[in-house]
């Protein structure tokens, strides 16, 4: 009873703290494959003044986790507020592009709910993974993908043509397509700069009475690491650090890492030496600085429009990425480095500016949080929690763990508590345990250093029970999964 009261007070306090007279606009920023290696996350390698500004004026969630470390399922989960098990989606297929809506007509998405409540929703770039559909007409009044192609420079064209020609005669090129490229050109040459221009124009020309839900999805720093030269020039190659853990950690099982070797669709792994590693990391950082500059332009346009103080800004990443960490160049695992994402909310009046919250949360929490904040009913399909109580009391008990999953060795579920990452591979139907991993995650490292499953049997048992208790009642799509 006492606890209930406290909670009620907390909620009403939160509501007053963040009270909105009008319906706030929403600026919804998605970034592809960007791990939270930013200054606002206590790192120092990357130059990203605009994202740092957002963090300084907003709230940074330092333990935010995606629900599956792969573009398609992660984004669909976030946009519907449902776990992959709930929506029944675990992948996407470029040779079988679908519209997810055709398979899940009864689900209400985040922007759709805003549209249902008087908002105009428009999107640019990559919000959903287009292999699962862009959902125009439901999620969006209008959506522009604006894809300009991955490469533009003459050098890249040459590499591509030579590689393709070699493949055509049955030879194996070392570089199939460039994993990195720079070119002395304008931001608008590439997709993200071009979409930013469109988003800025959207803001400049917006005259509707309805509040807007503007979504801008950046395609970088996803491979290939291509950005205008000026962003490469921000970094000194020699000072780029090599990964701290470049080898497999003790106790990794055969399922811990992914069989999906993303980098190999660009270059042969045999040519990745120290110099190449630095070059790749350099490219990744340059891409983040490029995206950051685009975010700056949008923030400026919002400010120029006079709407900055009436707009809630959410910035998120769909999953992390391994830059040679554990010897890998990909995502698609349940490891901390692939599941942990950047997530920043800037409230219209800069409430709680500069706060960092370390409670493990999920990207499924975005939907209830935004609905809550805009005084909109959260759709019934949402599985996440509103984060507003956390803003008042950082120790508020929101959820026992953040959950991530990946279909591997049956289904691999991974739960993250303040201290532990526990991963269990189960039979998809019977939930029978197949394999277990336990990692003690140190806050200062945020990497799996060793699988300590054998050392902490009680923890394993406790966390396993917690997981199985959850799975017993968790929402689960009981029809066939969305095909991929």
């Amino acid at each position: 009873m006492k606890k209930f009261l406290l909670k009620a007070i907390a909620v009403s306090f939160t509501s007053s703290l963040f009270a909105q007279n009008d319906k706030p606009n929403v600026l919804f920023i998605a970034i592809d494959d960007m791990r939270p290696e930013l200054n606002c996350y206590g790192e120092s390698q990357i130059i990203s003044p605009n994202m740092d500004r957002l963090a300084n004026e907003g709230i940074t969630f330092t333990r935010a986790y995606c629900q599956q470390a792969l573009c398609g399922p992660s984004r669909l989960s976030l946009m519907t507020g449902m776990h992959p098990d709930g929506i029944g989606n675990y992948g996407m297929n470029s040779s079988n592009k679908i519209e997810w809506r055709d398979y899940r007509p009864g689900v209400t998405s985040l922007p759709e709910q805003f549209r249902n409540n008087g908002y105009y929703a428009e999107g640019f770039g990559k919000i959903y993974d287009n292999r699962l559909g862009i959902d125009e007409g439901y999620s969006w009044d209008k959506f522009t993908q604006g894809w300009k192609g991955a490469y533009s420079s003459p050098r890249a064209q040459e590499i591509l043509a030579t590689a393709d020609s070699l493949i055509a005669i049955g030879e194996e090129p070392d570089i199939i397509r460039p994993a990195v490229d720079f070119w002395d050109t304008t931001d608008e040459t590439y997709t993200d700069g071009s979409n930013t221009k469109l988003a800025v124009e959207f803001l400049q020309n917006y005259i509707k009475d309805e509040p807007f839900f503007l979504a801008v999805g950046f395609s970088k720093p996803h491979l290939p690491f291509v950005a205008p030269k000026k962003y490469w020039d921000l970094y000194d190659r020699n000072s780029i650090k090599l990964p701290q853990y470049a080898n497999v950690a003790p106790g990794f099982t055969e399922y811990t890492l992914s069989p999906y070797k993303e980098i190999e669709s660009y270059i042969s792994r045999s040519i990745i030496d120290e110099d190449k590693t630095k070059e790749l990391r350099h490219g990744y950082y340059a891409c983040i600085s490029y995206v950051d500059a685009q975010i700056g332009k949008i923030l400026q346009a919002l400010e120029d429009k006079g709407e900055l103080q009436n707009t809630i800004i959410v910035l998120w990443g769909d999953h992390g990425f391994k830059l040679g960490d554990f010897g890998e160049w990909a995502k698609a695992t349940n490891l901390e480095i692939d599941t942990r994402v950047p997530f920043i909310i800037r409230f219209p009046k800069k409430s709680m500016a500069g706060t960092k919250i370390a409670t493990p949360i999920e990207l499924t929490d975005i939907m209830p949080t935004l609905c809550d904040f805009a005084n909109i009913e959260t759709p019934s399909n949402a599985e996440g929690k509103s984060l507003l109580p956390l803003l008042c009391d950082q120790n508020a008990e929101l959820r026992p763990f953040a959950l991530t999953q990946y279909p591997r060795n049956g289904m691999a579920y991974s739960i993250r508590t303040q201290k532990w990452r526990y991963t269990e591979y189960v039979d998809k139907n019977t939930f029978e345990t197949r394999e277990q991993e336990l990692y003690l995650i140190r806050d200062e490292i945020l990497m799996e250093e060793e699988n300590v499953e054998d050392l902490y049997p009680e923890e394993v048992a406790r966390l396993s029970k917690m997981l199985h208790d959850y799975l017993e009642t968790a929402p689960r799509w009981d029809g066939p999964a969305i095909p991929y």
């Binding site: 003459p154 064209q157 591509l160 030579t162 020609s165 070699l166 055509a168 005669i169």
Partner: protein, 503 residues
Amino acid sequence: MNSILKTLGYTALISIETAIVPKINAQEKPNILMFCVDDMNDWVGFLGGHPQTITPNMDRLASKGVNFTNAHCPAPGCSPSRNSLIFGIEPHNSGLYPFYNINNIEAGVIDSYYPLPLLFRNNGYYTKGITKVWHNPDNAYLQDSTWDEYSSHGDSNIQLIKEEGYYPDPYVKRLVACPGSNPLEDFMDYKNAMQAVDFLDKSHEDPFFLAIGFIRPHTPFIVPKENYDRFQVPIQEPPIKADDLVDIPIAGQSNAQIYVEIPMRRDGAWEKLRRGYLASINFIDDNVGRVMDALDKSPYADNTIIVLWSDHGFHLGEKRTYSKFSLWNEATRTPFIIYDPRGQNGNGLQCDESVGLINIYRTLCDMTGIEVPEYVDGISLTPWLDNPKLEMEKPAMTTWGRGNYTLRSKEWRYTRYFDGSEELYSETCDPNEWVNLANNERFDSIKDEFSKWLPKTEAPQVSSGLELYNVADADSPILNINSFLNNVSKYNAEGLQPPLYIK
């Protein structure tokens, strides 16, 4: 009977035996309607070379017949291309490499070649020629014996609307791109079309061979204002790589027509020229439509084979050049359609195999049952009219000067110049031909395979009757290269953008 009399006027020995064929019933022989277009590249709807092009009439023809999407000229210049096509002999066999006024070629050199329309005439066809079937000055060559009727038409005092186009100062004829304000009747290609329309309106007892040679889209791009008005700026620029010439040997580089790029870049006129080119193609399309409409209304519609070709393509900035005279795709590739209304299985389909226009001679003979003179090069394409997917083993060859040959298969282009230098492009991976793979040894096997198709023997260049001779080749290796280098220096000295990079 008639045909034998005509043959008497024709001195070649070879003609005697080929001309004596039994007179065939007029109803059984299909008529031929041949559209000869000048300098028209793939900027037509049915080849998809430019998104703004408007060619509904030619598109209609392409959709009825077999659309050869990968057709290549025998030579990238009007005179050598048409000499090859009309005589049915490739430059390396005839020695007719550059431009000629063939009336001035000394006796005995080309007398044994049988012009295609003459062969038809000698086989019972009534032949009608209009304007540029052959390269202009050659029209009069055997004119009386070749054609039952021939007429040539020019523009009548066209008043240029210079402010709506590009009129370079100092004047360069090849760069004029202006609409004309005159009525349609004053434009030569309209006259050409109406000649054909009148011909089709008349009743003909014998099967006919009607060849219409349009002048546009050859420069200057002077066509009615109406055609210009259909194209609004911005005109999309084709893909151009500023440093495209860097990986090309000097013999190839020197085919880039830099001297015309200087005034164009200086005046920022590229867009106006491209607009003029599109307008010119559109004007030709109107005129093709006029003739096709007349044919459709005539009693000949169901028994007339329609052939459409262009003598070669045209660069509009791609590979840093303008016009033709190169061995790259823009210059060698041409529209090519054959429509046989009597029913070919391939009608309505496209053939993506690499074919040479050199094959037109044998194909038309094959389709009409006319015996082909022995010397004639090429093959009959009738199997491809039946099945356009049939694989073509032999690459199409284009010759530009003695010793310079390019071989184009469906997937590759291999070029060897007179000095042994080479280019190799993967057309599937690099359709813009931006990356020369010839010096990458991993592609040696491909080059070896193509080498076997290069000419084993070369006829010496015919030395009399020479007209334009603007290529570096085995007979003149220096001149054109020096002039190219000189123009590159001028271009760069003026600081024009983007700069020209050469090796």
